[in-house]
């Protein structure tokens, strides 16, 4: 039986179609429909129930050396009040998960993927020994909503005493939203300006209702998982289980910028250094279909007549009005302009490698 979020009844009342994702019953779409929901977030503002996401809080005198060991990014360089992308890797360089780390004055607040929450918790606890730190999974008592789109700020400002002009891209602050203590980050997973909102789970209905009401004059719509997926794919943001996994290293995925190889204690450092120095044998590329067809996860990619890779994600892009996807191909065939073939329902259709991303994010601040 899938777990229900506190907003389950709200979604059903709004006419959502529910699906099961990572063990949670979540809205995949509302009556607006995925394509229109997607475009609405690009043009106006949308609200996402993403309580399935997990959160882990790290505190204590050894927080920095501990995080330096388990996180690929250089945590010592994270300013207070900023959110940063990182990954955790296994000894062989494969990815445990990708995360966002909010460096708050009194704690490191880490957002992890729903599907990896249990695994991550075991992983971070396993590596805690020898460090004077407290590591606490706060997923159950923490609710997470995302407000995304160019009209996010006016929608939220009515409910928030903090001057949002002062909160720049990837900054975060402990404040109040609708009278509820909230960790507010100018972060997201859509390629638009917007906020991720963390607050006590027992206030979920109150905060949701307040945001829906405040957003009325800006045309706020609730947005389902289908649009969340297409919105993240246009700016080429990776999804664990598709672009990244235990069998893929950050350098193959084009995420080497979030790996600090200088950190001597980093788990997986030797393997990561090796991939970096030798160069990855395959790379994640963006492609556009030349012939029509919808590329989907795991479809075979042909290069010069033989199967040489696979599609990680693909779709009809509502913003570009094109069929696009991401795929792993051998590094020697990963240049922009390279023609590849995608096996769609048994026919190999031409596609071409293009620059990443498909959609250039329009952040502010």
């Amino acid at each position: 039986m899938a777990k229900k979020t506190a907003l389950y009844e709200r979604h059903v009342a709004l006419g959502a179609r529910m699906t099961t994702y990572a063990g949670w019953a979540l809205p995949v779409q509302y009556p607006t429909g995925p394509k229109a929901e997607h475009l609405h977030v690009r043009e106006a503002v949308g609200l996402f129930d993403i309580d399935h996401m997990g959160q882990i809080v790290v505190t204590g005198p050894d927080a920095v050396p501990y995080l330096q060991r388990i996180m690929t990014a250089d945590v010592s360089r994270f300013s207070v009040g900023r959110a940063n992308y990182s990954m955790m890797c296994y000894d062989d360089g494969g990815i445990v998960d990708d995360v966002f780390i909010y460096h708050m004055p009194d704690r490191y607040f880490i957002t992890v993927n729903a599907a990896n929450n249990a695994k991550d918790t075991s992983w971070v606890n396993y590596h805690r020994s020898h460090f004077n730190v407290s590591v606490e999974n706060v997923s159950q008592e923490t609710y997470m909503l995302a407000l995304q789109g160019p009209l996010s700020q006016p929608t939220l400002q009515d409910l928030c005493a903090y001057d949002l002009d002062e909160l720049a891209y990837h900054e975060a602050v402990d404040t109040n939203v609708a009278g509820v203590p909230t960790l507010l980050g100018r972060t997201g997973y859509t390629g638009e300006d917007g906020f991720e909102i963390y607050f006590p789970a027992n206030e979920a209905i109150h905060v949701w209702d307040a945001l829906m009401e405040a957003g009325e004059e800006y045309g706020l719509l609730p947005i389902g998982l289908a649009a969340r997926d297409s919105l993240r794919l246009e700016p080429c943001m990776p999804l664990y289980g598709q672009e990244i996994s235990a069998n893929i290293t950050p350098f193959e995925a084009g995420l080497g910028w979030a790996v600090s190889l200088d950190k001597e204690t980093l788990i997986g450092r030797y393997a990561l250094l090796k991939t970096h120095l030798e160069g990855p044998s395959r790379k994640l590329v963006a492609f556009e279909m030349i012939e029509r067809g919808v590329p989907r996860h795991d479809y075979a990619v042909h290069v010069e007549g033989t199967v040489r890779g696979h599609v990680t994600s693909g779709m009809y892009s509502p913003t570009l009005e094109k069929f696009v996807g991401l795929a792993y191909v051998p590094s020697e065939h990963a240049s922009v302009g390279q023609e590849i073939g995608i096996d769609i329902h048994g026919s190999v259709r031409p596609a071409v490698i293009v620059n990443k991303p498909f959609y250039t994010p329009t952040y502010r601040g």
Partner: protein, 135 residues
């Protein structure tokens, strides 16, 4: 949501509709089918002159969610495909029984018409499927 049916059509268990015009017929997918599939982004249709057995897959509907086959309700030869769908696949969602038609074909064996459901029977069938599909 109530299941919409067209009173002038016959129906298959795989949620295709059939509108007979003499020795020919139009077919497409039902309102229930388009609603279950969600936004249609591409429809792959056969070539004019292709022939299919009754119930044989003749095309693929690509929605935001997944790829699904569509099946010819009766054996026949394709006479025309709806080329509008190439540029406007959303017609399948907006007007499934009208502008969202898929193909026109020549009926090979009129006896097969007896295998199809009338509108009332289909409506009941689709409503049952809808109940089972939602929780």
């Amino acid at each position: 949501m109530p299941v919409q049916v067209d009173e002038n059509c016959l129906y298959t268990e795989s949620h295709e509709w059939l509108r007979i015009e003499g020795e020919e017929a139009y077919t497409g997918i039902t309102d229930f089918a388009q609603d279950s599939l969600s936004d249609v982004v591409y429809v792959e249709l056969p070539d004019v002159g292709d022939t299919f057995e009754q119930g044989e897959p003749y095309g693929v509907i690509e929605s935001v969610k997944a790829a699904s086959d569509c099946y010819l309700p009766l054996a026949g030869e394709i006479l025309e495909v709806n080329e509008e769908l190439e540029v406007s696949p959303e017609l399948v969602n907006e007007d499934p029984y009208g502008e969202g038609w898929f193909v026109r074909f020549k009926i090979e064996d009129p006896d097969q018409i007896n295998d199809l459901m009338d509108p009332d029977t289909y409506k009941e069938y689709a409503e049952k499927a809808q109940e089972e599909g939602t929780h």
